[in-house]
């Protein structure tokens, strides 16, 4: 993965981030066995992957004991490679290689064992900017997409969890009202899952690909006067 090598190269050059590493050590000690993965990007951020059962307690500890009282966002990730690839685009736009639908799942920083993850970002805003922040993640097994709601800790997580529920189909136990937020109430399916088909893309390639404009130093095909005139 190109991004991973870039990150690795950056980290080789970047100075060690002692503050974040100290914070990671403290948090790992406080959370104990709950921590199953972690990642420090010097100068950028801290990631902590916890077990699903410890999700609520981990958020509570990070909020109350470490003072990360600002809830930034909560969302889900579907790491599965899209079974649709690039849909019909690949037939027209051959410049980009077709992705392998059978490729193994690659998860991001702090690792992961499952297709779905829930993650949230908390920040410590007591000091002037730049604020410290941490991203907490949890793996969800495919056959049981449930996790405990953190609404009792952060009321602002309410709508984030509703969105995550309708977009990924992840249930938040203890949520005060899991209803559709963005989608019509009769909507079927979970649109942000990778295997959710975009019907328009199944029947034709992206219309924009057809109108490939020539580069400035290339001759325009056909009538040069009208090329690009519709922009």
């Amino acid at each position: 993965m190109a991004e991973a090598t870039d990150t690795a190269a950056e980290e080789a050059q970047a100075p060690r981030d002692e503050e974040r590493e100290a914070l990671l050590a403290e948090m790992t000690e406080a959370l104990g066995d709950a921590v199953v993965g972690s990642h420090v990007a010097p100068g950028r951020g801290l990631w902590l992957r916890v077990t699903r059962d410890a999700w609520y307690d981990a958020v509570e500890t990070v909020k109350l004991r470490f003072g990360f009282t600002f809830f930034d966002f909560l969302s889900g990730i579907d790491w599965m490679p899209s079974p649709w690839g690039r849909y019909e685009d690949a037939a027209v736009d051959t410049g980009i290689p077709r992705p392998d639908p059978d490729a193994p799942i690659e998860t991001g920083v702090a690792g992961g064992d499952t297709r779905f993850q829930v993650f949230c970002r908390l920040a410590d805003v007591r000091r002037p900017a730049p604020h410290r922040n941490v991203v907490l993640k949890a793996d969800l097994p495919d056959d049981d997409l449930r996790i405990r709601s953190i609404v009792p800790l952060f009321a602002g997580a309410n709508w984030h969890e509703r969105e995550c529920w309708e977009m990924f189909g992840i249930t938040f136990d203890g949520h005060p009202g899991l209803r559709h937020l963005y989608l019509p109430s009769e909507f079927e399916g979970h649109p942000l899952r990778k295997d959710f088909p975009l019907l328009a893309r199944l029947v034709k390639p992206w219309p924009g690909i057809v109108d490939v404009e020539p580069m400035p130093d290339e001759a325009a095909p056909g009538d040069g006067d009208t090329a690009g005139g519709d922009a």
Partner: protein, 166 residues
């Protein structure tokens, strides 16, 4: 308006009525996305001055409006509201569909949530292409609509089937 109902409108009277109608269009607006900024420029700024065309923007209610300008990305969740407010407008009523999203889905042609063209729901009189269209394009759309109204046979419209939105 017994004359209109009877269908025996003298031509000069029709023409007079249509002229009166087309130069006092109360435009009700559905600004849903970035097109609404261009619509705002056309409707509410002195530079484009839509009132010189006889259009009165910003009525207090769709019930007072003659034309609705739907500008921006219509989502499936928004459609029932658009339909409902359209049904509240009094006939004769006209629809201007402004911008690629409203016309056909535009850049969201493959989206799971965007309606691919408001004409699936409402009878559109004028389509304005562009992403977003310039305010001048909206003004041209209004002029086209006025030409259309000017040619209309009021008696036909009056006695014809009412516009029913499915």
């Amino acid at each position: 308006m017994g004359l209109v109902e009877s269908g025996k409108m003298p031509k000069p009277l029709t023409s007079l009525l249509n002229t009166a109608r087309k130069y006092s269009l109360w435009a009700y607006q559905w600004g849903l996305a970035c097109c609404a900024i261009e619509m705002g420029a056309a409707f509410a700024s002195p530079r484009y001055d839509v009132m010189r065309l006889g259009v009165i923007p910003l009525p207090a209610s769709p019930r007072q409006a003659d034309v609705v300008v739907i500008s921006g990305t219509v989502t499936d969740k928004m459609v029932p509201s658009i339909k409902r407010l359209y049904e509240q407008m009094a006939d004769p009523k006209y629809v201007i569909s402004m911008g690629s999203c409203t016309n056909c889905g535009g850049p969201y042609w493959d989206s799971y949530s965007v309606t691919k063209g408001i004409d699936q729901v409402l009878p559109v009189d004028v389509y304005i292409p562009g992403c977003p269209p310039r305010p001048e394009a909206l003004l041209e759309g209004i002029v086209l609509l006025q030409q259309r109204i000017g040619r209309e046979d009021m008696a036909d419209r009056w006695r014809g089937d009412p516009l029913v939105v499915q």
